[in-house]
Structures are given as structure tokens and as C-alpha cells.
């Protein structure tokens, strides 16, 4: 019976170590969980002053409806002299519910500033999407 507190303390310490390891090295410790939502999309026809719509597809790989609560588009620099400042992508501000194992499309207004220099000709701006959802 005297051994029990020691075993409990040891178990607690082990739990702490595992939890810390998983929080510091995401994806490396424990099984990799597929994200519930995935976003893809792009556009290739911009020029200075152009206002277009960026079509995005939000996919769900879960068996229940998911309400998208946030969708962020991070624009990267295209190349030297053609930074992301020349591109404006409007924020996502609408209700969107993705069906189970399905997808929904959404369009975000995007503008290339009229001041975009020649360095932005035939440029490619990389996009990173961050999406958050909750069970509908």
C-alpha cells in the first residue's frame, strides 16, 4: 500500500511528459490526425487594377456537418520587387456549412493594386489557407 503514492506520482509525471512533448512537437508525437477541413483554390488572371473573385473549395472528411467559423488567406510575396502588398484579398464573412464528406465553394474578392510594378508581370503569389470549423 505504501507503494501506491509513488506509482501514482510516477504516472502523473509520465502524463506530464507526454503532454508536453505533444504540445511542443506537433505532428511528431502520437498518431497524425487528418484535419477535418481542407481548402484549395487559386486564380491566374490578375493584372494591375483588376478585381476578381478567388474561388475556394472547402472539403470536409468528417461524417457530420461542419460550420466554417473562420477562413483566412495568407498571401506570400511573389518575387523580389513584387511583394504581397500589391494584392488585397477580402476577409471571409459569410455563413458556410460543409456537408458530411462533402465540399462547399466560396469566393473571396481579390484585387491587384493599380500600382503593382512590372516585377509583378507573370508573377505567382503563394497562398496559405487557415480554416476553423465546428460541428454544425
Amino acid at each position: 500500500m505504501r507503494l501506491l503514492p509513488a506509482v501514482a506520482a510516477f504516472a502523473l509525471a509520465a502524463l506530464l511528459v507526454v503532454a508536453l512533448a505533444q504540445s511542443r512537437v506537433p505532428g511528431k508525437a502520437g498518431p497524425r490526425v487528418r484535419p477535418a477541413l481542407r481548402v484549395s483554390g487559386g486564380l491566374r488572371s490578375l493584372y494591375p487594377g483588376a478585381r476578381k473573385r478567388l474561388p475556394l473549395v472547402v472539403w470536409s472528411n468528417r461524417g457530420f456537418r461542419i460550420r466554417v467559423v473562420s477562413l483566412r488567406v495568407r498571401v506570400g510575396n511573389a518575387r523580389r520587387g513584387c511583394g504581397r502588398k500589391y494584392l488585397r484579398v477580402r476577409r471571409f464573412r459569410r455563413r458556410l456549412v460543409v456537408p458530411p464528406h462533402g465540399f462547399r465553394t466560396v469566393e473571396l474578392p481579390v484585387t491587384m493594386l493599380a500600382s503593382a510594378p512590372d516585377a509583378c508581370k507573370r508573377a505567382v503569389f503563394p497562398l496559405k489557407f487557415t480554416v476553423g470549423g465546428r460541428r454544425a
Partner: protein, 138 residues
């Protein structure tokens, strides 16, 4: 003993990643790209001018990007037909013209030639050849 077990269970529930957050997906969950066009390299056909008193109607054909869509605007320039000196283009042909024709008002008496240059924002295409001479009489 019972308390200890409860403590351990509570700690496990708090510290270990559970499945309750499976409905949430916050993080980098996709990538894409936005590409841009470039201006057409071919010069547009030379414009034509029609005089009516001191108004000159300048007309030209549209230029296209490589994907076949029209260039959004043009810069219209007027040159002295004899000296080739560039003149200040007057309204309504000054600045970026978003059509394939414009009427330059109050053009001074003289002989003039016009060119058009495709434009998108501050991007510029190739300037066209000069138009035939347009004569504005007194």
C-alpha cells in the same frame, strides 16, 4: 486511494489530447496560388482619327492579353506630324482610356498623328505605329 484515482483520471483528461476536438480544424489546411498576366508584346494596329471642327475622334482596335481577354485601358498620345514632338493629350483622351475610342476636344490647329499604348495600371504594352496625319483647320 479513491481520491488518487480520481486525480489521475482528471489529469489524464486534461493533459492528453482527446477526440472531442476532432470537430475543430484550425491550422494550415491548404495552399494555392494567384498568378498574374503580362502585357501583350505585339503593338496594336495604328489608330485612325476623324476631325470635326476642333474635335478629333481617335479609334483603334482592342489589344488582348495572352489568354485572349482585352487589355483594360490605353494611353493615347498625339504627336506633331511635322516635328514628331509629343503633345499634351487633351480631354477626353488623356490618362488611361478604358475604351477603344475617345474624342479629344479643342485640338489646336495643325497636323497631328496619334498612337495608342495598351495599359493596365502602371504596366505598359508596346506603343502602336503612328496614325495617318490628321489635319485640324482654323
Amino acid at each position: 486511494m479513491k481520491g488518487l484515482c480520481l486525480l489521475l483520471a482528471g489529469a489524464a483528461a486534461l493533459l492528453l489530447p482527446g477526440h472531442g476536438d476532432a470537430a475543430w480544424s484550425v491550422g494550415r489546411t491548404g495552399s494555392g496560388a494567384i498568378g498574374s498576366k503580362t502585357m501583350p508584346t505585339a503593338a496594336p494596329a495604328d489608330p485612325s482619327g476623324a476631325v470635326s471642327s476642333h474635335d478629333v475622334t481617335v479609334t483603334w482596335t482592342a489589344s488582348q492579353f495572352a489568354d485572349g481577354t482585352n487589355v483594360p485601358s490605353y494611353i493615347v498620345k498625339r504627336y506633331n506630324a511635322i516635328t514628331n514632338a509629343l503633345q499634351t493629350t487633351l480631354s477626353a483622351c488623356s490618362g488611361n482610356v478604358g475604351a477603344t475610342s475617345c474624342v479629344e476636344h479643342a485640338v489646336p490647329t495643325g497636323s497631328w498623328k496619334y498612337t495608342v499604348t495598351p495599359a493596365a495600371g502602371i504596366w505598359r504594352g508596346t506603343e502602336s505605329a503612328k496614325s495617318a496625319t490628321v489635319v485640324v483647320l482654323t
